[in-house]
Amino acid sequence: MNQFNRTNYIFPAIGMGLILSAIIFVVVLIPRWTFRPPQPKDLRDYTSQELRGREVYTREGCFYCHSMVSRPQDWDHGTKSKASDYYYDEWHLLGSERSGPDLSQIGGKFPDEYHVQHHRNPHSLKPGSIMPSYDYLSDQDMNDVTAYLQSLGSNGRRALDPQTGKLKWAELVDAKVPSGKIEKVAIWKGGANFVADRERIASESYDQHPETPYKYTAEVEELLLGTSHEAQLSKGAVQAVATATFPTQEALREARIENADVRAWTEVDYKEPATAPRDTVGITSLQKIRTIANQGRGIYNQKCGSCHGLTGNGRGWASASMTKRAANFWEDKFENYRTDTWYWRIRRGVPGTQMPRWEFELTPEQSLYLVAFMKYVSQNKGLGALKGMDDPIYGIPPSSAKTSPQPPN
């Protein structure tokens, strides 16, 4: 090998090395030195629980299906992500593919129990979802990852009011504390009373502050941002109260077991046979399900009909003025809803819409009758054989269903 040949390769090699170094300098080092988003004024740091939840989120690979960036074109995901949103992140979780919804604004959209139930059994809340069940997570992991999810976004638990620097989620409400007394506690807006309070406060002056749905009168400021002493609790104490006052999964389960008989009837198929045996005498199963569904219809007419329409097609008179129209239960997707799903939607409402939380007004039993009616309406695309039945009075105790109305002749 002579010297000439050597130089022939060495100079191009050095040249390429220099080009590569220059490019690395430009695209890796310069951004590192110059691109430093400022500490955000509308976000606090993670708590240790939220950080543990972030580790669980990473460990379970959630970010392979859920992205963590709300893009300009994502119309329904809330505020667009900005660089300072990621200030406290040690590693990024932006994701590269969305098989599920974006989670950058998930905090505050659903109550904690919704997340827990959704992680345990996604299909019970979203029929047809391809999210796998994560029921193998320990309770600790489940709570941590829920805390992490609730911390995200401009309505999450980490969100601060940029003007005062106080937590945006803190809210003073009357709540039953663990000892059983009713006290005024600071509570997160994604928890109990979320919909009611949000509507009440938002109606005061939404137009003056389009970027935040709350009016900053002295009274509301005290309510929301906590200038009073109750809200000066430490972050941890506030969170503890906020989670403790929610009904737990166990309580919900118990409520359903008490109504095991009614619940069993809600699990049956409500599809009317093509040729209905109209002349059957006595209590047949068809009569039974019609009777139970008709009980629910009484509740429905009083509570739901104004928006969803008396036949369940979503064309109630109140629906006309809504930005998000009331659901049309004749749509195919509702046929697949399970009892759990219906029950949950009725009891907890649908956050982000005007669907209220009926758990404050309906007993679990009444809700189950309503579930029966919803199943009947969605599976038969309308009132079907209930049309001719007497409209029972709302509030009849279930035992009176023994003297059931007869099907039409």
Partner: protein
């Protein structure tokens, strides 16, 4: 065959191990064999993940097999296990040939093989048990990154030792690519894996995608293209069409591939100038790609009919057609407006499989089919199995890419319209996901055939069952592994 043939059984196990390490040509074979093994494992993991897309609760209650853990395991196992090991094995055959010398150190290369296998196995264990850094393509935790980095350093020593000991004055294009890659990739690896360089916040995504795209650009592409530069002229016995084009392709690849990473973040809040640099260089990538492909396809002039009879050539040519398609859709989908529409959809997943499975997977398989008889001194056990492997894989890749592409267009159209596909009662992508899982089944079947064929070739005395005569210049020595 007695695996210890030629080794004195009276020696202690340490000596026997050392002579096992020193068998000539064994490192290449063992690397190729490991590559095929990890290919089987990796594609099976991919099949499982694909099936979970269609049947989410398939393995309910087993955390190790849940989708979020299987997906990184699949990606890292096929990337670092299958494709990388097969390519390193091919380099250990090709570079000594081109330098007319022996591999610098067979022992070192075999130690590298053991270490690399250990890293991949340990990596699988780590990822399936939730030890992950959570950054795409860099999921391995630090206690796997560091051995892998040391392995890469060892690899530099072996390749450069061979190149510097060469008996041939001229350095062929393949040597530039392979020797260059050995130096570039460890740098990229260091930056991407937070070993000495770490950024927090959204800046981490820039570093992550710098690495994520350059593992393709400066590792798989440069190795795969370099190998094809060797194999095409070698198999067809045509001279390389243009030396000048190969210089153009080589010198522009490092220039235009390196800054493209940020095109994965076009709608994220990262600096706009960085996005502009990424988009421009992504489009400029057409220069190295075109120069390489024009060179390859013109080298094939008059010899296209060999694709029918020559199995390795068939794999290489298929790979290059896939490369053409990948590299034409790549710059196109990296531009802002197309990316606006296509980002976050299954289209991108299809593109990744186009590049890694369709192009570099096929290069790795072609290299395996070409090299194995020549280092082992044995004809392939069955040509028919090899043909079946080719057709199964090709069909699988085409079905997979079509299904994912259409699914991606579905998703993006739904987003544009404002009703994401995951809303509503049923998951409309389900049929596409079922099709994709089926295509995965075909690919896994192909891998089983390849592995069986390879095993029979290396470890049985039967010889070829259907009279394969593809390498007519089979070496008389060799065959030990």
């Amino acid at each position: 065959m007695n695996r210890n043939e030629g080794l004195d059984s009276s020696l202690s196990w340490v000596d026997r191990f050392q002579s096992w390490l020193a068998i000539e040509g064994s490192a290449s074979t063992r690397f190729l064999f490991s590559g095929a093994f990890w290919g089987l494992v990796g594609t099976s993991l991919g099949l499982l993940a694909a099936t979970e897309y269609w049947a989410p609760d398939l393995v309910r209650g087993i955390p190790q097999l849940s989708f979020g853990r299987i997906r990184p395991t699949h990606v890292n196992t096929v990337g670092f296990g299958f494709i990388s090991m097969a390519m390193v094995g091919a380099n250990f055959f090709v570079i000594p040939e081109l330098c007319r010398t022996k591999l610098y150190s067979e022992k070192m290369a075999n130690l590298l093989m053991l270490a690399w296998n250990a890293v991949i196995a340990l990596g699988m264990f780590a990822l399936m048990n939730g030890y992950t850094e959570g950054r795409e393509y860099a999921e391995y935790p630090w206690w796997i990154d560091i051995p892998l980095f040391v392995a890469l350093l060892l690899y530099i020593v072996i390749i450069w030792g061979t190149v510097l000991n060469r008996q041939e004055k001229q350095l062929y294009v393949t040597v530039w690519y392979v020797a260059g890659t050995t130096l570039w990739f460890p740098v990229v690896f260091l930056i991407g894996n937070k070993i000495f360089f770490s950024v927090t916040g959204i800046g981490d995504s820039i570093a992550n995608w710098f690495y994520g795209h350059n593992i393709l650009g400066l590792w798989f592409t440069t190795n795969g293209i370099g190998l094809t530069y060797y194999f095409l002229p070698k198999i067809t016995k045509n001279p390389l069409y243009s030396h000048l084009l190969s210089i153009v392709g080589f010198s522009t690849i490092a220039m235009f591939y390196t800054p493209t990473g940020t095109h994965h973040l076009l709608q994220s809040p990262v600096p706009e100038w960085l996005k502009a640099v990424a988009v421009i260089s992504s489009v400029m990538l057409l220069i190295p790609v075109m120069s390489v492909l024009v060179n390859f396809f013109l080298t094939m002039k008059g010899k296209w009919n060999m694709v029918v009879t020559n199995i390795p050539l068939r794999f290489f040519i298929t790979a290059m057609w896939f490369y053409l398609l990948t590299c034409f859709t790549g710059p196109f989908q990296a531009t802002r407006w197309i990316n606006w529409y296509l980002h976050f959809t299954h289209w991108v997943v299809a593109h990744a499989h186009f590049a890694l499975l369709g192009t570099f997977g096929f290069v790795a398989w072609g290299a395996i089919y070409y090299i194995l008889p020549r280092v082992s001194g044995k004809q392939w056990y069955s040509r028919r199995l090899a043909t079946a492997h080719y057709w199964l894989t090709l069909t699988g890749v085409i079905i997979m890419i079509s299904a994912l592409t259409v699914a991606g267009l579905y998703q993006s159209a739904a987003w544009e319209e404002g009703t994401p596909v995951y809303r509503g009662g049923t998951y409309v992508l389900s049929p596409f996901m079922a099709t994709r899982a089926f295509s995965g089944l075909l690919i896994v079947l192909g891998q089983i055939l390849l592995f069986y064929n390879m095993y029979k070739t290396l470890f049985s005395r039967e010889g070829s069952i259907d009279g394969t005569t593809e390498p007519d210049d089979l070496p008389t020595s060799g065959g030990k592994i």
